[in-house]
Amino acid sequence: MRTFYRITTLLIALMLVVGIAGCAPAQPAGPVTIHILTQDQAGMKPAEIDQIARDFEAMNPDIKVVMEYVGYDAIHDKIVTGMAAKPPAYDASMIDVIWPDEFIKAGYLLDVTSRITPEMKAGIFPSAWNGVTRNGKVYGMPWLMDTKYFMYNKDILQQAGFTEPPKTWEELVDQAKVIKQKGLAEFPIIWSWPQLEGAVCDFTILLFGNGGAFLDANGKPSFNNEKGVQVLTWMKQTIDEGVSNPASITSDENAVEANFLAGKSAFAVNWLFQYSDSNKTDVSQIVGKAAFAPMPVFAAGAAAGIKSSSVDGSSSFGVMATAPYPDQTWKFLVYLTSNEVQTKFSAEMLPIWQADFQGDALTQLLAATPANPVTVPAFLGQFPYANERPTVSYYNEASKALQLALQEALTGVKTPQEALDATATKWLELAK
């Protein structure tokens, strides 16, 4: 019996030792592995980024890159949960233009000011640097300069008897009614108005296109004034009249694309990637039929001199402040955002480098992919009219409140005025 106890106790001891030994931090043997989080939506496709990662690994055998792709709406929360671990789950992540303030306040982003070379500073568009710079410090590497575009189906417009796409939203409604009447599309326009960030992006486009703004000169909410209420009332009205697809209320940008590419809509508002996809025979039924036009504005906005209005959807890559291999991570990000790589993979996102849009480099860029002869002029024409959403540390909660207001008004739960007033009150509380 005594022998049995001894054997038992020794076995338990062995189990504990093995278990505790397993908890010890492992020393990296061989290549350093870095984990990068980004979106599977706007910008380059996962297969393209994977290719870039493999190319980088071939040039840098001491670094292994593990990419993780999630839907845009999951990234913010993945970053937050990933940062709770030590070391963090991700060495770097895509950072949307609306997140830096929150993440800098949380201490998540590494200050990379000293890593920015003069060539980078001078070569990349200034607006791209604005998205990652706070109080003179740089917290990321610009990656994607995107804005929402107005796209239309040339065939449907032609069949409806229109030679030009609409210049104002009022004109769009007129055209849509004809398209609807002729049975060319049951719901002529599809938007992204779900209880997600996409709805705020579309509201931004319409709000600024009506001469409105999120905040007044004193920083107080102003989206619930006459101009904002007019916009939301118009949004609801287009759904009631069957001009806007009611499914917009549940459609994220991928659903908008699926609808437009199925030939169900005459018009769609979406990010740049939709154009390239529209010409892929395996996913699109409208190959060669999609075209860009400047994002319309309201007649009142046009009268006030507003030529177009969109939303800034740019993003960067931030290195996590507690990441164990910042040098290796930065090296990969520099390669990922390099001029050469961005030109090569420019079908769904155009380069952040200014020089690419001039002289011989422009010729090279236009020839880089079949989409570029169309997307490059569209980008140059639309991006200057990209409006910013508020840059505040509580943006995520403020945006959620606005998303709710938009949904309440669109589903008839509240009037546009009631819904926007409640959100404005919430924003004031958050700002305290």
Partner: protein, 315 residues
């Protein structure tokens, strides 16, 4: 050679047992405790400690972030929550989801369990096929139902159109009063087999003699079900109800996938609200307080079930 401290401790313990004149019972108890130590460490580490730390966190204003300063606010988070109309609306919505989905799962589960128990032709296949919806991960189930309900490409619209019941595709998930029932249907499809299998196993274990005696005494099938089998099924129903109610009250993933809490927060449940506060808004203290309230509500519901259904004398 240096001996690892753990080996030293365990060897010492072994010698200690050998030298002292413990009774066999005492030695057994000592070894039992020793064997339990790893499990206890795991339970304390991954269950009890997080519960305690979350409870402590609920009394602080704690933002997500590295080296963020936590401010003690006492019951501030709880007071703010109770004063928020949105919180009570969310609780009401969650109770609606819980009551409706668990009721439907129980009724349908009982009916299917009874059907299998009566051994009709193909009952083994039926029992096997029941496992399929349950085996499907909730995320996959949610994505599947999201497509079924799709306004543009959904199978539900296609079916109703072919049957001539609708003239146009309907954007089901944009309808504020219909979104939650549609999520409930998706949940019932997924979880009803769990209830059916529990009840079917319980039915199979019931004494046949009682049923036969009642039949001899002239009780019809309906009477035998209500008077004999159902009362005997009470312990199994209790288990299914507690398990499903706890799960349903904490529903998150299926809502996240199908509706994202919309339209107009009409499918926003309490766990989704907790998730938003904790991860999207970075309010960890508030998230912790909400988590505790979820546990509190679940405990109350489990207590009510046990009071109503648990009869120790029947075991």
């Amino acid at each position: 050679m240096q001996i690892h401290p753990f080996f030293s401790i365990m060897t010492a313990y072994s010698r200690f047992l050998a030298k002292r004149h413990f009774s066999l019972r005492q030695k057994d108890a000592g070894t039992a405790w020793l064997l339990l130590i790893p499990s206890l460490v795991v339970i304390l580490g991954v269950t009890l400690w997080p519960v305690i730390s979350t409870f402590i966190l609920s009394f602080f204003n704690a933002q997500t972030g590295i080296n963020q300063v936590r401010t003690f606010v006492g019951f501030g988070n709880y007071i703010e929550m109770f004063g928020d109309q949105n919180f009570w609306e969310t609780i009401g919505r969650t109770l609606y989801f819980t009551f409706a989905s668990v009721s439907l799962e129980l009724i349908l589960g009982l009916a299917i369990a009874q059907l299998i128990h009566s051994h009709p032709w193909g009952w083994k296949f039926l029992r096997f096929s029941l496992i399929i919806p349950w085996a499907v991960p909730t995320i996959v189930n949610g994505a599947m139902w999201r497509w079924i309900y799709s306004a543009d490409f959904g199978a539900l619209n296609g079916l109703l159109m072919q049957l001539g019941l609708i003239k146009h595709y309907i954007p089901w998930l944009t309808l504020p009063n219909l979104a939650m029932p549609l999520v409930i249907v998706a949940d019932v499809w997924h979880m009803m087999p769990f209830v059916a299998l529990i009840l079917q196993a319980a039915l199979a274990g019931l004494p046949v003699e009682l049923d036969e005696a009642a039949a001899v005494d002239g009780a019809n099938a309906w009477q035998r079900f209500w008077q004999i089998r159902l009362p005997l099924l009470r312990p199994a129903i209790l288990v299914a109800l507690i398990a499903r109610t706890v799960d349903a009250f904490r529903v998150f993933d299926i809502v996240y996938i199908i509706t994202n809490g919309g339209p107009a927060s009409k499918t926003m449940t309490i766990t989704y609200l907790t998730y938003l506060n904790t991860f999207s808004y970075g309010k960890q203290g508030m998230g912790a307080a909400l988590s505790f309230l979820i546990s509190f509500f679940v405990l109350i519901m489990a207590f009510v079930y046990i009071r109503i259904l648990y009869r120790p004398e029947e075991n």
